[in-house]
């Protein structure tokens, strides 16, 4: 059967014929009937037909399939083309061209389809790429992503173009926003710099991505809004601070002007003051408005202000002392003395403005100066009178000195002085008279009393006159007495053959005078220096300190005074003017006395008769404070800080804080051991520590 297929049909035919022949032979041999033979042949024929039909059906079906495939491909191709917006390449070519077999057609169309499919997928990828980019940018801008789905049906170039333009606009917007964000960041940075804030920190609060240099910066609406609001907030702060620092600068300049602050010191705040009128944009220096800087400037302002207040206070003090000085020089009692004191205190407490006080004092000074001018002439005379009185005093003393004619060093000078003094003393009554006349005219002119250190001058003069008279009388009496004594002595001499030494009473006198020290009533000494409030303060405080020392001193003084009086009874000529209680006790007693030691007043009451002498002595001993009045009582302070004497030790046991005297708590330990008191510290007392005897012995 391996015949070539070409001949297969004829071969089949032959084999069919041969088979029929074989069948006829068989039938012949078998002897089959014709009917049987026909039936068989018919069946054969039918079976053959069946086979044929089946084959044709099969072929038909195959053709239909082919056609279908072609149609499908064509449809797909068309769909792709339409999706891509291209003219279909393959439209009914079969109509125009001679009909090709179906298989050829299919073969022709398939590669085309493949090609189109490839192109479509390419296009699709392009779309996807663009869409992805769009989506990304949108996400960046809106923070939310509207998920765009690719529309497979429209992949045309136009659409692609559309998408591209959309992408471009988005990209432009993105870059715009980026620029805006950067701008914001820049301004934020400059603001932070000026305000002295941490830029990174601020930006991080707005959006974490902004503070990182590498990462892409967030450009969403939200971020931009927040950036803007942050800038606005900072700007507001900046303006506030700017106003603040300009306020500070203004006060700085005011203070500088007021106090002539040196330029170098000003230079440090140049940066502040040069911006005093700057607008908000002009302030760009880093840290110009930082809190630390503002605080620094503020501290400077407050420092200057304290300076100013203390300077003002100093000025007030200076002016006040100037006023006092003038008053002292012209022997006017500063009338508003206490009120000034109060005012100073008020400044210190901040209740009164130093400036107005200064003005007040200035006015007072003016007034006092004016008054001083009118008093000048009289004062000069008074000065002269005082000088004369002094000389008189000296002369008197000198006259009393029985050794005055002993030739010693400087004796000739003393003699000369005495001569001059005598001449002066002779002129004294006239001087007093003239002074009185002048004073009266002055008083009449002004309608006020002429006071000298608070004492009416006329009274002083009057007192002086009376005193002089008394002295005169006393002198007369003394002369008589001397005469008598002379007689007595002569008698004694007659009896015992010697004269008593004349020096004796004098030594007693001297001791008495020395002991007077700087105590007693200075107010009445003509010095006047101590009438100023400055010395008031010192002396009152010293007197008020409840130490035992002043009391002791007082005792000593009192006893000394007694001594003094004992020897000094004799009427001496001198300036017993102001304090003369017989004539004007009322004028001198009140108020002035109070600030001073209570000693004098006590003396006054008890030992009135002795007073003249006292006063005179104080006058003599206190001449030095009269000349240099600015040094008030150096003795007290020095004594307080001096190394103590032995008698201090018993006081120590008490620990002499005044507090212990005022409060009632009894301090129990005061160990008396053979008159020696040992000091103990608080701790020793608390611990109950007592020095053993052996130690005590060594201490004694």
């Amino acid at each position: 059967m391996s015949t070539p297929s070409k001949d297969s049909l004829s071969q089949v035919e032959t084999t069919c014929g041969s088979l029929l022949y074989e069948l006829k032979i068989i039938w012949d041999e078998v002897g089959e009937g014709d009917a049987e033979r026909d039936k068989m042949l018919l069946e054969l024929e039918r079976e053959c037909l069946e086979v044929y039909r089946r084959k044709v059906d099969l072929a038909n079906k195959c053709r239909a399939q082919l056609r279908h495939a072609i149609a499908d491909s064509e449809a797909e191709l068309a769909a792709i083309c339409s999706a891509m917006g291209e003219r279909p390449v393959h439209i009914r070519q079969s109509d125009q061209t001679p009909r090709r077999s179906l298989k050829a057609e299919l073969r022709a169309i398939l590669p085309e389809l493949e090609e189109m499919k490839k192109r479509k997928s390419d296009r699709r990828n392009q779309f996807l790429e663009v869409l992805e980019q769009i989506q990304k940018i949108e996400k960046e801008i809106n923070a939310t992503s509207s998920n765009i789905v690719l529309d497979e049906t429209d992949l045309s170039l136009r659409k692609l173009e559309e998408l591209h333009t959309k992408l471009q606009t988005l990209q432009r917007e993105k870059s715009d926003r980026l620029k805006q964000v950067l701008e914001h960041l820049n301004s934020l940075n400059s603001l932070c710099l000026v305000l002295g804030m941490d830029f990174k920190q601020t930006v991080h609060e707005v959006h974490p991505s902004l503070s990182e240099t590498e990462a892409t910066k967030s450009i969403s609406n939200d971020t931009i809004l927040r950036l803007a609001s942050a800038i606005e907030g900072l700007l507001e702060v900046k303006i506030q601070r700017m106003q603040r620092i300009q306020d500070l600068a203004t006060s700085l300049i005011e203070l500088w002007n007021l106090m002539d602050t040196p330029v170098e010191e000003q230079q440090m705040f140049q940066s502040v003051t040069c911006k005093i009128a700057a607008s908000e944009q002009e302030i760009t220096e880093p840290n110009m408005l930082s809190l630390e800087f503002i605080n620094y400037v503020e501290a400077e302002v407050s420092r200057l202000e304290t300076l100013k207040s203390s300077k003002m206070k100093e000025l007030v003090f200076k002016k006040r002392s100037e006023l006092e000085d003038i008053c002292r020089k012209t022997h006017i009692l500063p009338e508003s003395d206490t009120s000034l004191e109060v005012a100073i205190e008020a400044i210190e407490s901040g209740a009164v403005d130093a400036g107005s006080l200064l003005e007040q004092i200035e006015i007072l000074i003016g007034k006092v100066k004016e008054e001083a001018f009118s008093r000048k002439e009289i004062l000069e005379k008074v000065e002269k009178w005082m000088g004369a009185c002094e000389e008189e005093c000296w002369l008197e003393e000198y006259n009393r000195d029985d050794n005055r004619y002993n030739a010693g060093r400087g004796a000739h000078l003393t003699l000369k002085r005495a001569e001059k003094a005598r001449a002066l003393v002779n002129k004294l009554p006239g001087l007093v008279e003239a002074l009185a006349v002048k004073t009266i005219t002055w008083e009449n002119e002004r309608g006020v009393e002429f006071t000298y250190d608070g004492v009416r001058l006329l009274t002083m003069l009057e007192d002086y006159k009376i005193l002089r008279q008394q002295k005169e009388e006393e002198r007369k009496r003394q002369r008589d007495q001397k005469k008598l004594q002379g007689q007595l002595m002569a008698e004694q001499e007659a009896l015992f053959g010697s004269k008593p030494s004349p020096i004796k009473p004098q030594s007693a006198k001297k001791g008495g005078r020395l002991s007077m020290g700087g105590v007693s009533n200075r107010r009445l000494s003509l010095g006047g220096a101590h009438a100023t409030p400055k010395s008031d303060v010192h002396s009152t405080r010293a007197a008020a300190t409840p130490n035992t020392r002043p009391a002791k001193k007082l005792d000593r003084q009192l006893s000394n005074k007694d001594d003094g009086f004992g020897s000094q009874l004799t009427g001496r000529r001198g300036l017993e003017t102001a304090g003369n209680k017989k004539h004007n006790p009322n004028e001198l007693e009140p108020t002035f006395r109070k600030p001073f030691s209570p000693i004098s007043s006590k003396v006054k009451v008890t030992e009135t008769d002795m007073k003249h002498e006292m006063l005179q002595k104080t006058f003599q001993t206190n001449t030095s404070p009269f000349i240099t009045p600015s040094k008030p009582k150096p003795t007290t302070t020095e004594e307080e800080n001096r190394i103590p004497q032995k008698n201090i030790i018993p006081i120590l046991a008490f620990t002499p804080c005044a507090q212990m005297q005022t409060t009632m708590t009894p301090v129990k330990t005061m160990v008396h051991e053979e008159e020696v008191v040992i000091e103990y510290s608080f701790e020793e007392r608390r611990a109950g520590f007592v020095l053993p005897r052996s130690h005590l012995k060594t201490m004694v």
Binding site: L248, M259, T306, E348, T545, T637, E638, T662
Partner: protein, 380 residues
């Protein structure tokens, strides 16, 4: 700020040579109206500073800050030495003694020393909660100091001696005791600077020793003040010492014995109250120098703490009044903290008094920084 200081020197001038110089007491600066608008209102700390919890139950005899941390060592009459962490406000340790503890000091952050009324000098080891007895005096030990220069402990006692101890030879007392130096009187206060030891005793004696030659005092002095010495404290710059008395006065002394050196010394009154024309005078219990600025704080029985500028003779600051006497003061190593012991010091005998308390306050620069003299020659 650096330049500021330089300019201020312009204002300095030589202080007048009066022995008694009244300190200038500035007014508190008034708030200016122009700057008031934007004033930052910081939270106002309590005026007295933060009070430490778990304070001693009886009188505080001394307190000291460590040189290395903010630890605070406090000795008390309740026989206990306490170690606090001042910044954390924590009580770190307690050391019970046989008697009242009159003084204490740090060695380093791990150990310290104490002086007790039971005559002992002790070494305290903080992290082991252990205490060794370094040695004994014949009477209560009043004060104690540690010298970093020589590594010795110096104690002063009411037995009229000063003793130096070497804490390293802890085993036997013979080895720890370096020397005993007789004083003219009971030792009341001690202070150390560099190699100098200043010993203040009863009877107003002051002895100045050189630690390298303790055989006899370098200087024997008498206090310039008339009354009992309460406290002595050396200047941080080592040129002298401040000495306070029971009579509201502080003397500023200098070691330099030349005339020029001695001309600088002066004394001033403080811790006084004027009432109805009388001065009430309070003892000055303690002096503490600021480690940075050299200014110093004094505490008195009036309950006030004053800060002074010794060079310019000015009072810089007065803190608001504490409930009772100021028994002790100490600045921390950097001067940012000031520990204040407000504790009755028995100045009026046994009487009811405010509870003992320790306040730790943070120190403002303004309160301790020296200010130049204000305009010595006011213009116009």
């Amino acid at each position: 700020m650096k330049t500021k200081k330089k300019i201020f020197q312009k204002f300095e001038f030589k202080p007048p040579k009066e022995f008694e110089t009244p300190f200038q007491i500035p007014n508190p600066p008034k708030p200016s109206s122009s700057t008031g608008t934007l004033k930052m209102t910081a939270a106002v700390p309590p005026l007295t500073g933060r009070e430490l919890s778990n304070p001693p139950s009886d009188g505080i005899s001394n307190l000291r800050f460590s040189n290395h941390s903010d630890n605070l060592l406090v000795s008390s009459w309740d026989k206990i030495v306490r170690l606090y962490d001042a910044s954390e406000n924590v009580l770190r340790g307690e050391f019970t003694h046989g008697g009242a503890v009159l003084d204490c000091c740090f060695h380093d952050d791990n150990s310290g020393f104490s002086a007790s009324a039971d005559n002992t000098v002790r070494r305290l080891v903080f992290n082991q909660q252990r205490e060794d007895i370094l040695g004994r005096h014949d009477a209560p030990v009043r004060c104690i100091e540690y010298s970093y220069g020589t590594g010795q402990v110096i104690s002063g006692s009411w037995d009229k001696t000063l003793k130096c101890w070497d804490p390293r030879g802890a085993s036997s007392q013979e080895r720890t005791l370096v020397g005993t130096y007789t004083q003219p009187e009971r030792v009341y206060s001690l202070s150390l600077v560099g190699n100098r030891v200043v010993v203040a005793t009863a009877g107003r004696h002051v002895n100045v020793y050189d630690l390298r030659n303790m055989s006899q005092p370098e200087q024997r002095r008498e206090s310039s003040l008339k009354y009992q010495t309460r406290c002595v404290q050396c200047y941080p710059n080592g040129t002298g010492y401040a000495l306070s008395s029971v009579e509201g006065r502080v003397a500023m002394e200098f070691f330099d014995l030349t005339e020029a050196g001695q001309s600088k010394k002066y004394a001033f009154k403080c811790h006084r109250k004027s009432e109805a024309g009388r001065d009430i005078v309070y003892p000055v219990n303690t002096i503490a120098f600021h480690p940075v600025y050299g200014t110093f704080a004094t505490g008195g029985c009036d309950g006030f703490v004053n800060v002074w500028d010794g060079n310019n003779k000015k009072r810089l600051y007065q803190y608001s009044k504490y409930p009772t006497s100021i028994a002790a003061l100490s600045f921390s190593r950097d001067g940012r903290l000031l520990a204040v012991a407000s504790s009755y010091t028995y100045e009026e005998g046994d009487k009811p008094h405010e509870p003992d308390a320790i306040f730790v306050r943070s120190v403002n620069e303004v309160e301790v920084k020296p200010k130049p003299k204000v305009y010595p020659n006011p213009a116009t």
